[in-house]
Every structure is written in structure tokens, then in C-alpha cells.
Symmetry: C2
Subunit: 432 residues, 2 copies
């Protein structure tokens, strides 16, 4: 069979390389927080993408509203344009839409799909309202539509649902899908008044200048509609999502939650039952130590309940330019990859294994023999490992030491010495 060989640094070398690096042309519509972070991320990860996928991503056009603004991005100025037709004429292989809304964003996406390009978008409103027809358009023209960044920020729930969990017989979805409101609700639970919490969210970049669609639940409603499409095959535009937000009532809702022993979350939910799907976004009181209650600040979490696969829970950062840009890049790389290859051969490369690690904490225990407490101390001293606590468990006849941070090799040496001295040691890592 084929032999792959590796260089000293672990790079894969093929006797005749089947994957020539290919250049894939990328155009980016919108260069705000997310678009700007995407430009930076594409530059920063260029060598990873080349080694891993055999692909060179070339940015060929960036559409902006005001080209005169200095953005401090690694882009030559002639790539930046405010002219939609000029942007479209760049004939990119992949068009990233990071404008938002259903106006010019929709035009750009439709135009790109119609000519068979691959489209990657973070636009939940567009996908929730027009996703089904855009997917049809993509299928007709041989293009492709990906939208991992539209739901859950950095939580990879779109791909998980579409490619993995949809085969498990999804019964219900429940989650926190709006990082802005969750950040605000986390502050309210600590006693911060609403206005102050909103100001904090704005300062940290989680809330837009106009956070109305976050606070009234519309943003989360778009997202649960998209997830319902992937999970249940329902047209997201036709799903009526019962939606209540926290506008004007946040302080009182938080107080109600506290009075009944819980914390408030804006919970999105969709459920399949005989003949239909119901979906809601509403203020919900949950236990502080439940999965939903433990999702604090801008965290998003999605629980997928299935017939064949129990419940799968995924959580991660739900807001911010960098997580969204990373999700966009993931879709761009998938769309740019040689399509027939599940995992690219070039994916083996830049890593190198080494038996080194930073110091960690450990617990070592030995069975007690006469005088062994002092002997254990002596072995510790000898190996150069220090113990924070040494405890004798008289009931089980075991002596335990919680070690100060030490490297693997030290702990291995200690274990070997103790074993040779006949003490039958066992070792655990300590992460408490």
C-alpha cells in the first residue's frame, strides 16, 4: 500500500504528492467587527490552512459601506470597495456575507449562489427567513450554503445538527442562543440594575448600539427557527416561534426567579410531536446548578435530545467578533477543501510529540507500614518533590500526600522509588 513518510518535525511527505496547493478566491461582504476579525484570522492561519488543507485562501474583494475609514487591516487598498457590482465581478469561489439583515446581504448571497459560488454567512435573519429558498438556489446552481456562524457564535451546533445529530432522531432542542441577554441576566442575578448591565454589555462589545432584537427575543427566535430546520426539516420561515423577551421587565423577572429559588434565562426551545413542531423563546426560571443555569455571561448552550443518542449538550462563547470569525473561517475551509476528501491527507503535518509537560499537582498514596510516614517524607525529599498535606487514614491503613506542582518525570521517579521500597503506591492527577 501507499507509504507516507514523515520528516523529523513530523511533516507528512508523500512519494508523489496528490494534493497540489490550490488557490481559492474569497470575497468578503461587510467589514465591521466580524468581517475585520475574519480578515485577520485568514492572514494569521494561512500556513495552517496551507499545511492542513492544501489550500491558499486569497482575499480578492472586500465590500464596505465607507471605504475611506482606516481599518488597520492587512489588506491592500485596491481590494476594498463600496461598489456592489465591482464586488460581484471579482468572481470569487467563496463569498462570505458578514453584512447582516435581509437587504443588500440577500442580493449578494442570491447573486453568488446563482452563479454557482459557495456562500458562507453569519446572517441569522437571512437564513431564518430565506434559508430554504437559498438552499434550493444553491442546489440548482451547484453552489453551496453554509452558516455555522449564524447560530451559537462559537458553538459548532449547525454542523453538529446537520451532519451528525440529525441522524439520531432529534426529539427536542433547548438552549440559550443569545449571548447579550445572557450576559445581562448574569449581571442582574448579581444585583446589578438593568441599565448598568446593558451599559456593561455594550462596553464589552456583546451588545450592539441597538440591542432591541436581542432583548425582545427576535434574535434567539431566528436561531431556534434555523436549528428547527436542521433538526426537523421544517421551513424556518414558516415556523411560528412564540417569543417573549425581557424588554422593560428584566429587573422584575430576575426578582421573580430569585423569589422562587432559581435564576432567569432567556430559553429557546423547539419540540417535535405528532404532526408538528412547536417553538418558543421566553424568560425561564431554571436552577442555578442546571446546564442552563450554569451558562453564565455571554455563554451559549444547546441541548439536543434524541431518540437514538440520549441528550448531547454543547456550550461555548456565544458572542463577540473572534468566535464568529472563527466559525466563518471553519465554513470557508470546509467549502474550500477538495470535496471528495473526508479528511485531507495533508492534515498530518505540523505537530510533534514530546514527553514534556508543565508541572501539575498529584496525589500519591501508599499502604501504611510501620514507620512509613517518615519514610514517605524521606522519599519525597529525595525525589525533590514537596507535599502540601500528608494524611494518615487509619481506617483503611493508607497514607496520602497531596504534592506541590511537579513534572511527570519527578512523579514517575517518586513512584518507582516507592514501589522498589515495597510501598505499593497509586498516583492521581489533582485538578480540584
Amino acid at each position: 500500500m501507499t507509504q507516507a513518510t514523515f520528516t523529523a518535525t513530523g511533516h507528512l511527505v508523500l512519494d508523489s504528492n496528490p494534493i497540489e496547493p490550490r488557490t481559492v478566491r474569497v470575497a468578503i461582504a461587510g467589514c465591521g467587527v466580524v468581517g475585520g476579525d475574519l480578515v485577520r484570522l485568514i492572514r494569521e492561519s494561512a500556513s495552517d490552512v496551507l499545511t492542513g488543507d492544501g489550500v491558499r485562501l486569497e482575499i480578492v474583494s472586500v465590500l464596505v459601506r465607507r471605504p475611506e475609514i482606516e481599518r488597520g487591516l492587512p489588506l491592500s487598498p485596491e481590494l476594498i470597495t463600496s461598489d456592489v457590482s465591482r464586488f460581484q465581478s471579482a468572481s470569487a469561489d467563496i463569498v462570505v456575507e458578514a453584512i447582516g439583515g435581509t437587504g443588500v446581504a440577500r442580493e449578494i448571497v442570491e447573486d453568488a449562489l446563482a452563479r454557482g459560488a459557495r456562500v458562507v454567512t453569519a446572517n441569522k435573519a437571512l437564513v431564518a427567513r430565506h434559508g430554504a429558498e437559498l438552499a434550493t438556489l444553491a442546489a440548482r446552481a451547484g453552489g453551496r450554503l453554509d452558516f455555522e456562524a449564524a447560530v451559537g457564535g462559537g458553538v459548532p451546533i449547525v454542523r453538529s445538527l446537520r451532519d451528525s445529530l440529525s441522524s439520531s432522531g432529534v426529539v427536542a432542542l433547548r438552549g440559550i442562543l443569545n449571548g447579550t441577554t445572557n450576559y445581562i441576566l448574569s449581571r442582574l442575578a448579581e444585583g446589578t440594575p438593568f441599565d448598568e448591565a446593558l451599559a456593561l454589555a455594550r462596553r464589552l462589545g456583546f451588545a450592539e448600539a441597538n440591542p432591541e432584537r436581542d432583548l425582545n427575543g427576535s434574535d434567539a427566535a431566528d436561531k431556534i427557527a434555523i436549528l428547527s430546520w436542521l433538526a426537523f426539516g421544517i421551513d424556518p420561515a414558516r415556523l411560528a416561534v412564540r417569543t417573549r423577551g425581557i424588554v422593560g421587565t428584566a429587573d422584575r423577572l430576575a426578582a421573580d426567579a430569585k423569589a422562587f429559588g432559581g435564576v432567569l434565562r432567556l430559553v429557546a426551545e423547539a419540540r417535535a410531536h405528532s404532526g408538528g413542531v412547536t417553538a418558543a423563546v421566553e424568560p425561564t426560571i431554571v436552577s442555578a446548578d442546571s446546564e442552563l443555569g450554569r451558562a453564565r455571561d455571554e455563554t451559549n448552550v444547546v441541548q439536543v435530545k434524541t431518540r437514538w443518542n440520549g441528550t448531547v449538550t454543547t456550550s461555548g462563547p456565544g458572542a463577540g467578533g473572534r468566535p464568529t470569525a472563527a466559525a466563518l473561517l471553519g465554513d470557508v475551509r470546509s467549502a474550500a477543501r477538495p470535496l471528495a476528501v473526508g479528511i485531507a491527507a495533508g492534515a498530518v503535518g505540523s505537530g510533534r510529540a514530546e514527553p514534556e509537560t508543565p508541572p501539575a499537582r498529584w496525589v500519591v498514596s501508599i499502604r501504611r507500614e510501620s514507620g512509613v510516614g517518615s519514610e514517605l517524607r524521606a522519599e519525597l525529599r529525595h525525589t525533590g518533590v514537596h507535599a502540601d498535606r500528608l494524611e494518615i487514614d487509619s481506617e483503611s491503613g493508607v497514607i496520602r500526600a497531596l504534592l506541590d506542582p511537579a513534572k511527570w518525570d519527578r512523579v514517575d521517579a517518586l513512584e518507582t522509588r516507592l514501589r522498589r521500597a515495597g510501598f505499593d503506591p497509586v498516583v492521581s492527577r489533582y485538578l480540584v
Copy 2:
């Protein structure tokens, strides 16, 4: 632009359907617990796959060791064979390998990839030891290798890492990757002795007849090596995973954990640092309320720490035939889909939205007015909603009711009535 129309039941109808249903030929090597569940799942989900992907999955051959066994599967007997060359001559489009090990399983996978077929496998030992060369073989022949089911059972971590999170700059992975040991450790924490816990795990189908590779950490070591490949591009066969299991020491390790205020988990970890990747599987003491400590029974959990995207955590069932079969089917569907389409147009179809839902619990609060406690009770009675508790918060001047389970429309009616009566109600769902 293209118009897609929907029937009364929500099915997508295209004016000229671009996606003719295609038949995709699937051969399954191995028909134990996982292979058998896959056959059942393919039958059960046939109409979903047809509607969603436009694909008809046809099982063309099933390789077994002993064809004479009655398996009670929906398969015609002539499809079942113990002859490897006969199995290979079925020329399937997709070959599923569910045998395990690196003997005949490897032969079958190499043969299939060499002739350009798409291979889906649950075999962690094979992918950990030969994944890089198999991926090379797939790339050369235009085939494809997928292995979602090899790591994490039903936790969709392979695809998440490969297609999404690898673009976020992965720094470290940490998780519980072996459901069998985690089930046993959960029982030990409750005071069950090891032998009894192992017997229970066997009875529930989590532990094999020979659970040695689970208990000594080898199974988890294979899995963290595979995840390190996807996250860091390192050849899994060349990653030295420092591995300690719980063979012969489980009871003592559990007691040590308890003595130091934590619970024991078999934790797999991989970390990138300057010039290399280190990886370990070892007994680890964690807080009972940490992500790892909260993963009980056969649950698997993976935390992915990234530069651009914070930490993403995914958990779900990590053992059992059905979750593994569902993960295999997810890969089969991905491999069978029209390759250019990120989401298939046919994916819109079988769902229907309706504004109905099972009864839920709710909290309603109103601002206090004179005599309002009795008035609230009257409104509740009038709407046919019952309240478990009615509380007056004299400090904030609010009266709160925790309602008995009621449907949306009841609660909406109550809210409307209260608003009309001038009480300014707010409503939360109650999941505590």
C-alpha cells in the same frame, strides 16, 4: 429568482426538481451490537434520508464471522456473507467498517479506499495507528475516510474539531473519552466495590467481555491521539500518550479522591506548546461540580480550549450500540450527499409548525395594589389556572404566583385579563 413552494404539510416542491433521488450502495463489515443497530437505524430512517438528502441507502452486503446466527435483522439472507472477497466484490459506494482491531478491518478499509470508495469506521485503534496513511490512500484514490463514531460515542466531536474548531486555534483538549470506566468510577463514588461495578457495566452493555483496553486507558489513549490529529495536525501513530489506567487500583484511587474532596475520573488530555504536543490519559481527581465531575455514568465530555473561541464543551452518551450506530449513520449520510451542497435543498420537508405545546409550569407576578391578592386569586380561578403558591413580597410590592402545569393559551389568557385589569403582569416559564 427560483421559487420554492410548500405543500400543506410543509413539503418542499420545486418547479423542476434538481435533485433526483439517488441510490447509494452501502456495505457493512461487522454485524455485532453496533453493526446490527446500524442496519436497524438505516431501515428506520430510510424516509428521513430520502426526504432530507434525496438519497436511497441500499445495503448490498454485510460481512459477518458466523452467518448461521439468527440476528433478527431486516436483511435478506443472501446479503449476509462470511467471505471477505465476496463482500469486497459487492463494489459498494460506501463501506462501513464495524469489526474493530487492526487485522481484517484494516484489509477491508485499505481495499475499499484503494478503489476510491468512501469508508466510514468506528474503529479507534485503526485510526489511531494508521489514520494518516489511510487518509493519504483516500486522497490518492479520490475516496474519503470518516470516523465520527471512533471517538466519543454519540458526542459529535470529530466533525466539530475537523470542520469547525480547528479554525479557532486549538490550544488544548481535555475530556472523558471512555464510557465504561466512567460508569465504573461513578459507581465507586457511591460506595459500590469495583468488581460489582464492573459486573453492572457488563450487564448494561457498556463493558466488553474483555474490558482490559478500557480499564488500562488504551482505548482513551487511542481517542486522544485521534483528536490530537484533528486539532494539532500531529500523526496520531507518532504521539506518545502517557497512559495510566485503573486496573487493580480503582478502589484505592476512588478513596484517595474522596479523601481530598473530589471525585475520580479517567481524564484524557492533549496540549500544544512550543515545538510539540503532549498527551496523557490518567486517573485524575476533579471537583464533583466541575464539568468533568458532573459527567456521570457512561457520559463522555470533551473541552476544547482555543485561542479565538474560548472553551467549547460538548457532552453526551459515550457508549452503547445505538449512539455509535447513529454516529456511523451521520457519516454515511454525509458521504452519500451530493458533495457540492452544504445543506441539501430537500432538507426542507417533513416538519409542520403548530402553536400547541404540552402543559408547563409558569410564574406570574403583578405589582401589588390594595386588595390585589384576592383579585389575583379570582383571575386565576376565572382562567381555570391553579396556583401552587402565592407570595407577597412586601419590600418590592410584588405578588407572585407559581402556577400548576398549564398550556400556553391559558397563561396568555390570564396575562391578558390581568393587563386589562391594570395589574402589569410579567410571566416566566418555570423549569426548576
